[in-house]
Amino acid sequence: MAEPLRMVVADDHYLVREGTRRLLETSGRVEVVAAVGNADELLDAVRRFSPDVVVTDIRMPGGGWRAGFEGIDAAHAVRSAFPGVGVVVLSQFGDALYAFELFKKGTEGFAYLLKDRVGDLDELLGAITAVAEGGSVIDPKVVEGLMSRREVRGGGGSPLGSLTEREREVLREMARGRSNPAIGRAMHLSLSSVEKHVNVIFSKLGLENTGDVNRRVAAVLAYLEG
């Protein structure tokens, strides 16, 4: 087994912070080197421990940060000072606004998960591993929110409406940050049919296809942001 990933956990709520820490340590796949209560302490801990990944709450009152966006701003601060550190933001909000706020400067190394994912250790560890490798992950519920918002946004029939149910599912998986083989595994499809769906989707939405997963996520998000 590979070396455990070194992590910092940040949440202003003590029970959530300790619960998350213990949950992650139980897996034996990560080592929590620090658990902190606000954005300033988080940056301090990253500087001192050079972790592989940070898991942070979205809202941690205190400090000179934008109220309500402390976790997202700290995530950006971490990534710009330490580009090798992956960041998982845990959020209470499924609204598209916060996800776009996190991904506005690129998706690489960022994950945006709803807080209930702490009840799904495999999913959480998957996101942690992905961001540690520079990938990106978006909670399926949030992707659902992004897509609905795009559809709600008026201006004469969204092209999303022209996608088949299967294609919408593939788009959701792409937006979540999955690669074609991962999509195939999740949807029980062959790699070639996934590729076919992806091509159709991109031509229907008028997007340029790209092999790079991160650039693909960025393109899908940019499309969804409208």
Binding site: G68, F93, D95, L97, S148, R149, E151
Partner: protein
């Protein structure tokens, strides 16, 4: 207007003083001067306070004619009956006419008592004019001793006309005096003393002239002087007394508070009362506003008590309420009532009613805003109760079930297959709580603004929904209460469309132009009776912000709810 009144008063005062000084420096001249000044002072006071009432101007005109006449007769005596002297002396004719006929006739407010008096006014007016014109042409000097000297036939005619006209005016004065007696007998309790004083003044003036005429012929100059002064002083004196003692024209003279100086404690006009009120009402709570208005009504109308009440709600009373209300006035379309007790002095006059009517306007506005505030508070209470029920029936019960489930798992040895359903249950609770929190106040509204929040809300609806927003509105932010009111209106309208209208498609429009932020929700549902919704509380919320709500619904064709709030930015 005020400057003009002051100028007239000064003109008459100055010419009177100069005229009397030219005639000598005796005690009688000083006395004449003082008595003569009564008229301009009275006229000036009344026009100053009530410029809209012609009576003050009439008094000023009387004063001017007296002043100019005095100056004229003095000039005539010193420089001979030249054009200037005679011309000015003619003003005396006008003075007599006004003081004998028109001051008593038009008493107390400057209007004819009835149309029947018109011939009297016309005859007197023409006679006064003839008297004045003839006087300018005549060399007759009533104050000159010895038999009159005529300079020619024209002079003779002029003197005859002058004397005749004066007699006509005098006759009219007696007619008017009788008229006054009739009016006195018919007058109400408050006006009677005023009329009585006027009758005395008018009678004294008429008698005074008779005395002057009689003793002038008999060459008793001292008595002539007293008679002249009676003519000059009687009517203005009577007006002065009526003013000081009987609140003529609602003007009062007295000593105010501990100050020793004489001040004019006059009844404030409606506009004065209202402008005094406005600073008091500006930042006051609705309750304080109503109490302040009740006080103002009590003071303004000089009544024992005044009460402002909301229908089926609180009452605000100034003074101690005793007995039945003398007058009641429904305000704000029946939302409230304004009631007053007896007057401290006298009875309710038409002027009092006018004042009460004027007060009804601000009282109505204050009652409307108090009623609105009351409904907003009620709506807030209802909302709290709804939330409590929601939490109690929802999340609380789910948590109890979760605890029970966990306890069961523990007691039964913690079989691993029991745990995932519990986790799902907890997740569901979290979802519900998230939804509830968003319903109380969505964080996305505070963080992302109106358009973002409305889109987020619509994205969670099970029905195809479109949000059309002005492009520049997306980044615009407004005050929290404005965004909140519109967001919750849209949210409520969406809930209605889903719950009651069974809509299949919903369209939300957000726009901002001409200083108005607008939101409208249109559905294709079955329509409903607009009154039967929870939108009433939202309408109040919008109108508290100066905005409004419109609901149009046609059975079978859908519903459009549109709300607007004034907003800049």
């Amino acid at each position: 207007m005020r400057a003009f009144a002051s100028a007239l008063a000064v003109l008459s005062g100055v010419s009177l003083i100069i005229g009397s000084m030219m005639d000598g420096n005796g005690v009688d001249q000083w006395l004449f001067m003082l008595i003569g000044l009564l008229t301009p002072v009275l006229g000036w006071l009344i026009t100053l306070r009530r410029p809209e009432i012609p009576y003050g101007w009439l008094l000023l005109a009387t004063a001017c004619s007296l002043g100019v006449g005095t100056l004229g007769s003095a000039l005539a005596r010193h420089a001979g009956a030249d054009f200037l002297g005679n011309g000015f002396t003619a003003a005396f004719a006008v003075f007599y006419g006004l003081v004998w006929v028109f001051l008593p006739l038009l008493f107390p407010d400057g209007r004819l008592p009835s149309r029947r008096w018109r011939p009297v006014a016309w005859i007197a007016g023409v006679a006064i004019a003839l008297h004045a014109v003839a006087t300018t042409q005549s060399s007759l000097d009533p104050f000159k001793q010895g038999p009159p000297v005529m300079t020619g036939p024209a002079d003779l005619v002029a003197s005859m006309v002058s004397g005749l006209a004066q007699m006509v005016v005098y006759t009219m004065a007696i007619v008017v005096l009788f008229g006054l007696v009739v009016r006195w007998r018919r007058a109400g309790a408050q006006e009677r003393p005023q009329y009585l004083w006027m009758i005395c003044g008018s009678a004294l003036g008429v008698i005074g002239f008779a005395v002057v005429l009689f003793y002038l012929l008999a060459d008793h100059l001292a008595i002539v002087g007293i008679g002249t002064m009676t003519v000059v002083a009687a009517v203005p004196g009577a007006i002065g007394v009526a003013l000081v003692r009987h609140r003529l024209l609602d003007i009062r003279l007295g000593i105010r508070g501990s100050r020793l100086s004489l001040v004019f404690d006059m009844r404030p006009t409606v506009s004065e009362l209202l402008s005094e009120l406005s600073p008091e009402l500006q930042d006051a709570e609705p309750g304080e506003q109503l109490a302040g208005l009740a006080r103002a009504v009590r003071e303004g109308l000089d009544v024992r008590w005044a009460e402002v009440s909301l229908t089926g709600g609180p009452r605000f009373t100034a003074g101690e309420r005793q007995g039945e209300a003398t007058v009641r006035e429904r305000v704000a379309g029946g939302l409230g009532e304004l009631a007053v007790g007896e007057k401290n002095q006298g009875r309710f006059t038409a002027e009092d009613r006018r004042l009460l009517h004027a007060f009804a306007v601000p009282v109505g506005l204050a009652i409307r805003s108090a009623a609105l505030a009351g409904r907003l508070v009620n709506a807030q209470e209802a909302e709290r109760r709804r939330l409590e029920r929601n939490i109690h029936d929802g999340v609380q019960q789910q948590l109890v079930a979760l605890i029970a489930g966990l306890e069961l798992a523990r007691a039964s040895g913690g079989a691993p297959e029991m745990l995932p359903p519990l986790r799902e249950q907890a997740r569901q609770t979290l979802d519900d709580l998230r939804e509830l929190a968003a319903g109380i106040h969505p964080s996305v509204l505070a963080q992302g603004g109106l358009v973002e929040a409305v889109e987020s809300r619509c994205a969670r609806l099970p029905v195809p929904t479109t949000v059309l927003a002005d492009p520049d509105l997306r980044a615009a932010r407004f005050a929290d209460e404005i965004e909140g009111a519109l967001y919750f209106t849209v949210s409520e309208a969406l809930a209605n469309a889903l719950k009651h209208a069974a809509a299949g498609k919903i369209e939300v429009r957000l726009s901002h132009h001409d200083g108005r932020l607008r939101a409208s929700v249109r559905d294709d549902g079955r329509g409903f009776e607009p009154s039967a919704t929870a939108l009433g509380a939202l309408a109040d919320r919008l109108s508290a912000l100066g905005g409004g709500l419109e609901v149009s619904s046609t059975i079978g064709e859908g519903t459009t709810v549109s709300a607007w709030v004034p907003a800049h930015g």
